[in-house]
């Protein structure tokens, strides 16, 4: 078992160092004394005996050294030596070390921050019990191209009774609500779910209890669970909150529990849900359950254990086929109604995955550039240390030993940079997150965990190896005779090293070009979007939003009838117009550029089916438009031009002829160019009712398109109806005024609450801000990539500068010679700058080719800009060329200042 004894002795050697040394000393001392004793016994005097004994032994220090080696000098000793030496080397050049550590820190820090986001959003599983079993359930009508349509209570029950795929399912409805009965009226987000919602997710309460079987009700159970945030905000974290009651939209609920602070619903982070209620969705305010009465927007489920996704999907397909056959009346055959399940995590983050991956790639690109930059600088320095390497190898150092030494230096540098980067990222992560779009799902889960730390370590290691390997290999190959012969200054500019450095610089510049092109395309997209005519004039418009309560108990509803709503609308507009500074006041149910909720949300949408007179209704999903309620002056406030017909008037109210105004997109889709829409009639399919259409509405006008869903969404048809002819809950005041929103806020709240003191007012802001906010995430991504591109540009120019400066330094003798032999300053300039231009040129060309071939991958992120936009592809390389020319000029200029006499004398 020599392995074991080797290990034991290695262990002893590593950890019992001093004891071993003293033992060895004692042993050798004993030996010499014993020898001396023998001499003494033969009659020699003691001092003479000792002397002879020592002589006979021989070189004691060498013997000790050999003993130490025999024990196996550990790699730990070598490492300690290397580290000490590396530290000394780094301390000798403080500026270089500082610059290197800073650039490394930048690279590592950016990567750490980006990866912590990617980790939390894409990689980590959802914070629920057995998250892989959770799925999002979609109901689709693929035959007419519709996905994620609403479903009915019987269809939801089928998921439990007609198939054994699910262990548990829960319907989900989220939306706004007005909280009254707490400290002050507040506008909150509420989530309505089935009673098993929390148990399905594995959530635990901080206080009290969560929903359970006892909370089953046909309508709404009179219990509510509140969030930790609400508990602290409005109840001061009072443990006696259980049993207190509050009103949501005027309905009374009793608080039974407080959720733990870490809980997040599996949905977008904004708006965060503060109150949870549970319902059976089969009684007030919901209509009587019928298969065709499709009210519910979303559902999630937990698959039975042991069932794969494919198996579950197959069974659901079979169930859907059965249902389609059995209830043919409710499932038109051309719709091909199906049920689809998607893993919950995928449904949440699927649409941000591409953007995050692009950003991650950009950040890793930065790592490469930083490593290459440092590699070039280190290589330059390594050439200057040829002498040192040659002497070492002459003294017996092996090649691997020297390589190890150089690598240790690089890895030490990388380690420092990594620590600095990690610290920076940790400190600034919270600040960085504030700039990230709030629409990013799972944003609140972003933190630095073990995986991020491991990634940081890996990145630092890879960087260290990347920039350390080249100089290490290069210096270990130091040919003895040639280098020692090359004179004391060491013209360490050997051809091979020079080639390696050239390649490094060129690759750097190529990467910089790629980043600049990417940034250019994204910035162009942003500019295009901002240039887009949104269809209205956002400047000098202030908005404020309210939400009319929708209590479950109709008797508690103060806005149930037309008379009540019309009275409210008129009074509100009157008071709003009376605010000093307000020129014109109007209302709308949806502000432009706030977007109808995306197809993946579970909130309420405006998308409705239409039926158009004189046009065959093929199926209920065929004709669609978004319905928006407005007051008569709305288009005047927004300054949206009228194309045909007229705006609404005060006369368009309940009881009079029902009217509608359509936008160009609707006109184009359903009437133009063959027919004139004005005077035609259409009707809208009610949201809850299965087959109940609204009464026929006459089209009285056509307006220009307003980009309701965002500046990058075109062509969605909209139909506008008067507020006084259609009941609704969400209202936004739009006021044309030259005063800023902050000045008007108090007066707007006052005006609204003078009509109804229980109405919370929120989002008082200018229309300009609303538009800006809609571009938030794009702006962030574009700025980020632009920042990286700028960094890459800086690093590339530093790299060229460093290389040329070093070249001038090494060849100063040659330059001095040339000058002495009659070369002009211009020739020297041409020499140096020429090299810079060649390097830059080659690098730029490589970068442009690479960008051109991969630009189409970015197509999904662009708008109004082709991936091969010529302007970007021209400007980016040009910019880089100019910067590198500038960077080359400085060392070139210095070269011309070389004094020939001085240079020649330093032979």
């Amino acid at each position: 078992m020599t392995l074991w004894s080797r290990f034991r002795s290695w262990l002893r050697a590593t950890f019992g160092r001093s004891r071993m040394e003293s033992e060895m000393d004692a042993e050798l001392k004993f030996h010499i004394e014993a020898r001396a004793e023998d001499w003494v016994r033969r009659g020699v005097s003691r001092p003479e005996a000792t002397r002879r004994a020592r002589l006979e032994f021989g070189a004691i220090e060498r013997a000790k050294e050999e003993c130490r080696e025999a024990r196996g000098v550990t790699w730990l000793d070598f490492l300690a030596q290397d580290l000490r030496y590396a530290l000394r080397m780094l301390r000798k050049k403080p500026i270089f070390t500082a610059v290197a550590v800073l650039t490394l820190a930048l690279g590592v820090g950016a990567n750490t921050a980006m990866f912590s986001i990617v980790n939390a959003v894409l990689l980590r599983s959802l914070p629920f019990r057995d998250p892989d079993r959770l799925v999002r359930i979609y109901f689709n009508n693929p035959g007419v191209g519709l996905r994620n349509v609403r479903f009915s209570v019987p269809e939801f029950d089928d998921l439990r009774t007609r198939t054994d795929v699910f262990e548990d399912v829960s319907a989900l409805v989220s939306g706004p609500t007005n909280l009254t009965g707490a400290k002050q009226p507040e506008h909150l987000e509420v989530l309505e779910s089935s009673p098993n919602y929390f148990s399905m997710l594995g959530a635990t309460p901080e206080l009290g209890r969560l929903f359970g079987h006892q909370d089953f009700a046909l309508g709404f159970a009179p219990v509510v669970v509140i969030s930790d945030g609400l508990w602290r905000r409005s109840y001061g974290a009072d443990p006696g909150v259980l049993g207190r009651s509050l009103r949501l939209d005027n309905d009374l609920y009793t608080i039974v529990g407080v959720l733990s602070p870490g809980f997040r619903d599996p949905g977008a982070t904004i708006p965060a849900v503060d109150v949870w209620v549970t319902a059976g969705f089969s009684a007030d305010p919901y209509p009587m359950p019928a298969r065709g009465t499709r009210v519910l927007p979303g559902a999630i489920g937990r698959l039975k254990p042991g069932l794969t996704l494919a198996q579950a999907q197959a069974r659901l397909d079979a169930m859907a086929a059965n249902l389609r056959r059995e209830f043919a009346n409710d499932y038109p055959p051309q719709a091909k109604w199906t049920v689809e399940i998607v893993p919950l995590q995928q449904s949440l983050v699927g649409n941000v995955r591409p953007m995050l991956l692009v950003l991650m790639a950009a950040v890793i690109l930065i790592v490469f550039i930083v490593s290459l930059n440092l590699g070039g600088l280190l290589l330059a320095r390594a050439s200057g240390r040829h002498q040192e390497m040659a002497v070492r190898s002459a003294l017996g150092a092996s090649r691997s030993r020297m390589m190890r030494q150089m690598l240790t230096e690089s890895l030490l540098l990388a380690w420092f940079g990594g620590i600095a980067g990690l610290a920076t990222a940790a400190i600034t992560l919270k600040a960085v997150l504030r700039f990230v779009s709030a629409n990013l799902p799972r944003l609140s889960e972003v933190n630095i965990d073990w995986r991020v730390l491991g990634f940081t370590l890996l990145i630092s290691l890879v960087m260290g190896l990347l920039f350390g390997l080249a100089p290490a290999i290069h210096s270990s190959k130091a040919g003895l005779a040639t280098t020692m012969r090359e004179g004391s200054r060491g013209s360490g500019y050997s051809a091979k090293a020079g080639r390696m450095r050239d390649v490094l610089i060129m690759s750097q510049l190529a990467f910089a070009v790629v980043l600049m092109v990417g940034a250019g395309l994204l910035l162009e997209t942003l500019r295009e979007l901002l240039r887009q005519n949104p269809g209205f004039n956002p400047s000098q418009v202030v908005t404020a939003t309210i939400y009319l309560p929708h209590p479950n108990n109709p008797q508690l509803d103060p806005y149930l009838t037309f008379a009540q709503q019309i009275r409210f609308n008129r009074e509100l507009l009157r008071r709003a117009s009376a605010i000093p500074g307000v020129e014109l006041a109007a209302m709308t149910s949806n502000l432009p550029a706030t977007g109808a909720t995306s197809s993946d949300s579970i909130g309420r949408t405006n998308s409705n089916s239409l039926a158009i007179e004189d046009r065959p209704t093929e199926s209920s999903g065929d004709l669609r438009a978004e319905i928006i309620r407005i007051s008569p002056d709305y288009f005047r406030v927004m300054q949206t031009p009228l194309v045909e017909g007229r705006f609404f008037t005060e006369g368009d109210e309940d009881g009079k002829l029902p009217v509608a105004i359509i936008d160009e997109a609707t006109a184009r889709r359903y009437w133009w160019p063959d027919h004139d829409p004005v005077g035609r009639r259409l009707r809208i399919l009610g949201r809850f009712a299965g087959r109940n259409y609204s009464p026929w509405k006459t089209v009285v006008g056509v307006v220009k398109n307003i980009k309701h869903d965002g500046l990058d969404v075109d062509g969605v048809p909209h139909v506008y109806v008067p507020v006084n002819q259609t009941l609704g809950l969400l209202l936004s005041l739009t006021l044309r005024t030259s005063l800023p929103a902050s000045t008007l806020e108090a007066q707007i709240c006052g005006a609204i609450q003078s009509v109804d003191p229980g109405l919370p007012v929120f989002n008082v802001t200018s229309m300009d801000n609303v538009l800006d906010a809609s571009l938030e995430s794009r702006r962030f991504a574009a700025n980020l990539v632009a920042g990286f591109a700028g960094l890459a540009l800086l690093l590339g120019s530093i790299g060229i500068y460093g290389l040329l400066a070093y070249m001038v330094g090494q060849r100063s003798r040659e330059i001095g010679l040339r000058l002495a032999l009659g070369a002009q300053r211009a020739d020297v300039l041409r020499l140096v700058i020429g090299k810079g231009v060649v390097l830059a040129g080659l690098g730029i060309v490589a970068g442009v080719i690479f960008s051109a071939s991969t630009a189409s991958m970015m197509a999904s992120l662009l708008y109004g800009v082709r991936p091969h936009d010529p302007a970007v592809f021209l400007v980016a390389p040009l910019l880089l060329l100019i910067v590198t020319l500038l960077a080359s000029y400085i060392p070139a200029w210095r070269a011309t200042k070389v004094d020939p006499i001085v240079a020649l004398r330093e032979a």
Binding site: M1, T2, W4, S5, R6, S9, E23, M24, A26, E27, L28, F30, H31, E33, A34, R35, E37, E56, F57, G58, A59, I60, R62, A63, E66, C67, E69, A70, R71, G72
Partner: protein, 113 residues
């Protein structure tokens, strides 16, 4: 006394193992014993003794422990381990085989080629 024979490293290891196999000894004692059993024909370079001892201990053929010498002084004693015994045997056989082969070659007369 015959001229000192130059020793190869491998053979020194073998001799140490043999010396120690006859009973535990400290370093100096091993030196004397080798001299003794070689009937004074062999003298070991003192400087190479201890590195060899340490190497053999590192490899596990001998083991050491501190004890008292004849004149009551502290000394490190080495003894043969079980694996060391096997090693000594193997090395001895190899040596004998090798010397047979070499001797045979050297005995070859011109006629036998």
């Amino acid at each position: 006394m015959d001229r000192q024979l130059d020793l190869l490293q491998g053979t020194l290891d073998m001799l140490i193992l043999k010396a120690v196999s006859l009973g535990p000894l400290h370093g100096y004692g091993i030196l004397l014993r080798i001299q003794q059993i070689s009937k004074d024909r062999l003298e070991i370079q003192q400087g190479s003794l201890y590195p060899a001892l340490y190497r053999l201990e590192h490899q596990g053929w001998i083991a050491s422990e501190w004890g008292e010498s004849e004149n009551k002084r502290k000394a490190r004693f080495y003894r043969l381990t079980k694996t060391g015994k096997g090693r000594l045997q193997a090395e001895t056989e190899r040596w004998n085989r090798m010397s047979d082969v070499i001797a045979g070659i050297l005995r070859t007369t011109s006629e036998e080629v």
